[in-house]
Amino acid sequence: MRDLYQRLHLPRHATAADIDNAIRECPHYGLREDARAVLAHDAARQEYDALHDLLSDVGQLRAGLGMTHAPHWRGSVALDFTPPPDERRARHESLNERLDAALHPRRRFALPRLGRRRPARR
């Protein structure tokens, strides 16, 4: 499963006219034929888009979970649908933190202030 949008340098929600243009200008014969067969027909494109969305979700989840080099994520799928690494913290950590904040609301703001105070303006 390849990301035809990415390979044609198109956004995911490109219009039919854009797609036609991109297909006409694509220098690669095999890619051109595949894109014409998949993206140019509405029914086929709908089915392809559903799968495309799902695979982008899976890729994003994998990036967040550090599973971008797992044994079931190989070939063109992994090549096209792996986003750059997700630097955000794990969701359960953030959940625990928010839970702490909800249960002990004062603890968050009891920290002493560090550094000098800015002098008052004249």
Binding site: M1, A37, A50, L51, L55, W73, R91, L95
Partner: protein, 351 residues
């Protein structure tokens, strides 16, 4: 103050997870709902099964919420569920979860592309390698896990409906309790029940055929292995026999050579003795005996022994060894050395 304006918010799924008695089951329920919602044609029986799972997890009303979560593509919630599942103990929860997922995904026939990739994701989450997943799939459905056609390829996409090809294929679930589930599905609708019955029949058929094939392959493999073992033993035996024969031949050769050497030596000694006996009364014989006497040898001495004796005596009586002990000593030593040298030269020339 800012503290008063600070609020903590939780998404609906997080609230569900926090309130849940068994968060692991809630999380896996969300992932199973995810799988079912990406099937091309989810069966009524699948939803029924999910409802039963939700009832078992004491979350009857949660299913709507989970469906909504998946429909809105809330990736954070899905990621939270995945983290909960990945943090769980391997042996206890992963295999049953994967069985349920496979049963739900394959209930309408061979996997299509979305469910296939979702199953791969769940298997990675459960740290299950492809071979183990294929084994589980065969266990649950009685079929071989075949990767679906790639929709981004024209040639595969050209022939219509690979997804509709598996109308008569099977999808047996993991437990015997599933039959109860199928019977309960009677109230849901006739078509679902007949479909599931057909699934079960063909599933058993597949299993039987698979077992036959498996047995045939196993016996063939066993026979092949036995034949290999016999051939290996025969080769080993032949090799050992060959090595033994070679060793014996080499020993015999060595013995013959030693015998020959001994014979030659005896012959040579005999000849020497005869010569010395015959020449004892001539001048040459006398000179030779004298020379040998100088070298402190008897008449049976071999050339090697003569050489060794000469070397030894020459070193002992060399004039340089007597340096600094007086001229008389040096003169005597050089006299002796000269005599030894003359004797050796005589013996080497008239050997």
């Amino acid at each position: 103050m800012k503290a008063s304006t600070f609020t903590v918010s939780f998404s609906p799924f997080e609230q569900l997870l926090l309130k849940s008695l068994r968060p692991l089951e809630s999380a896996s329920l969300l992932l199973l709902v995810w799988v079912v919602m990406h099937k091309t044609r989810p069966l009524e029986a699948d939803w029924h099964y999910l409802r039963r799972l939700a009832r078992d997890a004491r979350q009857d009303q949660a299913l709507e919420l989970l469906i909504e979560t998946v429909r809105d593509r809330r990736l954070d919630d899905l990621r939270l569920a995945a983290e909960v599942l990945a943090a769980a103990d391997d042996r206890e929860s992963h295999a049953p979860f994967l069985r349920k997922a496979i049963g739900l995904a394959a209930s309408t026939g061979p996997l299509d592309a979305p469910t296939y990739h979702l199953l791969g994701f769940l298997a990675d989450l459960c740290r299950t390698p492809p071979a183990a997943l294929a084994h589980l799939y065969r266990e649950v459905t009685g079929q071989v896990l075949v990767p679906p056609a790639d929709p981004s390829r024209r040639s595969e996409h050209a022939d219509p409906g690979y997804a509709a090809a598996g109308a008569g294929s099977s999808g047996a679930r993991d437990e015997a309790g599933e039959s109860v589930n199928a019977n309960e599905g009677n109230t849901q609708g006739d078509d679902a029940t007949t479909a599931s019955a057909a699934r079960f029949g063909s599933g058993n058929d597949y299993r039987r055929r698979f077992r036959h094939a498996w047995q045939r392959q196993t016996s063939a493999r066993r026979r092949l292995r036995q034949w290999h073992r016999i051939r290996l033993a025969r080769r080993t035996r032949e090799r050992q026999a060959r090595q033994r024969a070679e060793r014996e031949w080499a020993e015999r050769q060595e013995q013959a050579r030693r015998e020959q050497a001994r014979r030659e030596r005896a012959q040579w000694q005999e000849q020497q003795r005869r010569e010395s006996r015959s020449s004892s009364d001539t001048y040459a014989g006398w000179r030779k005996r004298l020379a040998l006497q100088v070298l402190e040898l008897d008449e049976r001495a071999t050339p090697v022994e003569i050489k060794q004796a000469y070397r030894r005596l020459a070193q002992r009586h060399h004039p340089d060894r007597h340096q600094g002990l007086g001229e008389r000593r040096i003169a005597l030593a050089s006299q002796r050395f000269q005599r030894i040298k003359d004797a050796y030269e005589y013996l080497t020339q008239h050997a």
